[in-house]
Symmetry: C2
Subunit: 337 residues, 2 copies
């Protein structure tokens, strides 16, 4: 991460005073790599975390595994998801594994209570505890396992660098983003697979390529479009009830792809405008990156577009107290507007 | 909040790369107001949020309410707490109200599920839902209500600016911090009471005054010492299982007072050194402010003091993935060391 100072992109107000502020960087590029918007350091190397799951899912489609197991848009969306551990997410991940003759014991992502607090309380009320299917990455990992089964690769150890599926993913990430992915820029993600830090600008380029197909091999372009279309068609399976990706893609109705990643990362694409977007909030907070992606997309669609207006609203959430009274707000800072 | 750039105080690493970073300001002063350490903008006006609960509890002691209701150190600690909603916290808050002839319906702080996820799951497993006693501020509000009952003031509307208890608290905050608290710098806290933005440096001064008594009226100095001593003696009741304030004050064994506030605020005092500490992380994240307060206190005690060494460890927590493997770390940045 650059030592230079990224601008303040988001302000959190209590009453009419700024209480907290978030710095970060944004890059928007077209399919030729031309810069449409750049704030902060777009050259800084960033771990994308879960924001690149749609790229990590390319082998699932490209190997024919998705078709062999009869996966529709919901399954493909779940393979690109950071889901909230709701009952529908868990059931669908289990069904993906079952079609490959596996169950949750094959998952190597680890276990955590559902991200959605209501889902956690529902489990607890039923006297149950979570398993690896409740992990927000279980759909992605199920996709990895199905790809391994379909291609007759060993499933044990599929999360480790050097395993066939992780090498396929590394090659896909490298081809799509145009940036080197190697041991030198590798670390371990929360779900145990490798994650690579590459310049923020390369994610913006990667996402416009995924959306447009420009710069990708023809077969890859088809797979990319299929995955992005699935996510936009089934946004509940990409995230879950009332979550940012779900709300933005529901509002977008096929015109906007977004995907959050841990530590303040967001990647997005606007197919009709041929634009890719990449965001990193320096401090890693989702409340800031969610505002930035909504505001940037709002600006790109424009105020006269109903979707632009809706996204601009989403970029200005209220802060409420425990009695439900509005006591503040979150808003894009001057640098963004 | 100042427009100038506060320094990076905390870095979050994944592997050996900085993944996220947190900026902020720190002020350490002695009881004469002399500056011992200053990083970032100490003149910026900051909402202290829950970090000043020990000051807000002064009327409970000073009016004689605490003695009239037979409150010991646990009750006083809970009156200064942002507790985790664990069963012991809820029971004690209920018992404080009961001694004043009240129950949870008198609380105007609002309701939320317990901060500690295990406590939330325990409630859900029992088929229960939370009430206002589970609100992290219920001990403080119970203290307010007991003070109103003891002094024969109306309890309804006790959270509103202008109510007698809020005026008493405002006067105490003003006297202790030496900064004006008025409608001009007032907003509403998460638990519905007023919160005032005053310069960060004034909190550092306020906390050394609370710890030393210097600069306070004699009766107030006794009340301040009694409250701080209670918090240091019963840190579980100030926060809860495995929470930062509890861990630091347990380690401190009477030598360190700390109190977190929402949006990245921390106030602390080291009685034996006669020092007050105030911290604001610009982006409002507790993971950063917890590291800053531990590192600053570690430096002030020094490496050769076992407490200093323990706090320095706390200032360098590991980042783990869902399989429990260490994949990164959080550490004080260069400006802090």
């Amino acid at each position: 991460m650059a030592e230079t100072s990224d601008p303040v992109l988001v302000e959190v107000l209590r009453g009419d005073r700024v209480e907290s502020r978030h710095r970060g960087a944004v890059v928007v590029v077209d399919a030729d790599g031309g810069t449409v918007l750049a704030l902060g350091d777009g050259a800084q190397a960033v771990f994308p975390r879960s924001a690149v799951k749609v790229i990590q899912a390319l082998p699932l489609v490209e190997t024919g595994a998705a078709d062999a197991f009869g996966f529709g848009q919901k399954e493909l969306a779940l393979a690109c998801a950071s889901h909230a551990g709701e009952a529908e997410h868990v059931r669908l991940a289990a069904s993906m594994l079952e079609r490959a003759g596996l169950d949750e014991t094959a998952l190597e992502c680890g276990t955590h209570w559902p991200t959605r607090s209501e889902a956690t309380r529902e489990l607890a009320r039923e006297g149950r505890t979570p398993n690896a299917l409740h992990n927000n990455c279980s759909g992605k990992h199920s996709g990895f396992l199905c790809t391994c089964c379909h291609t007759a690769h060993e499933t044990a150890g599929y999360v480790k660098p050097g395993h066939w599926i992780q090498e396929e993913i590394r090659a896909a990430l490298e081809a799509v983003t145009g940036a080197e992915h190697s041991e030198a820029n590798r670390a371990t993600d929360g779900c145990a697979i490798p994650t690579y830090a590459v310049p923020l600008r390369n994610y913006a380029l990667g996402f416009v390529r995924m959306a447009s197909g420009q710069g990708l091999e023809p077969e890859r372009a088809v797979a990319a479009k299929r995955l992005m279309t699935a996510c936009m068609a089934e946004p509940f399976y990409v995230a879950g009830t009332k979550r940012a990706d779900t709300l933005m893609m529901e509002a977008g109705a096929g015109r906007l792809f977004t995907k959050t990643g841990a530590e303040g990362v967001f990647c997005a694409a606007i197919p009709e405008l041929g634009l890719g977007i990449a965001i990193k909030c320096d401090d890693g907070q989702a409340r800031a990156s969610e505002v930035v992606v909504a505001e940037v997309a709002a600006r790109l669609f424009g105020k006269d577009d109903a979707l632009g207006a809706r996204l601009a609203e989403m970029a200005r959430p209220a802060v409420r107290n425990w009695n439900g009274e509005t006591v503040g707000s979150v808003r894009p800072a001057a640098a963004l507007s």
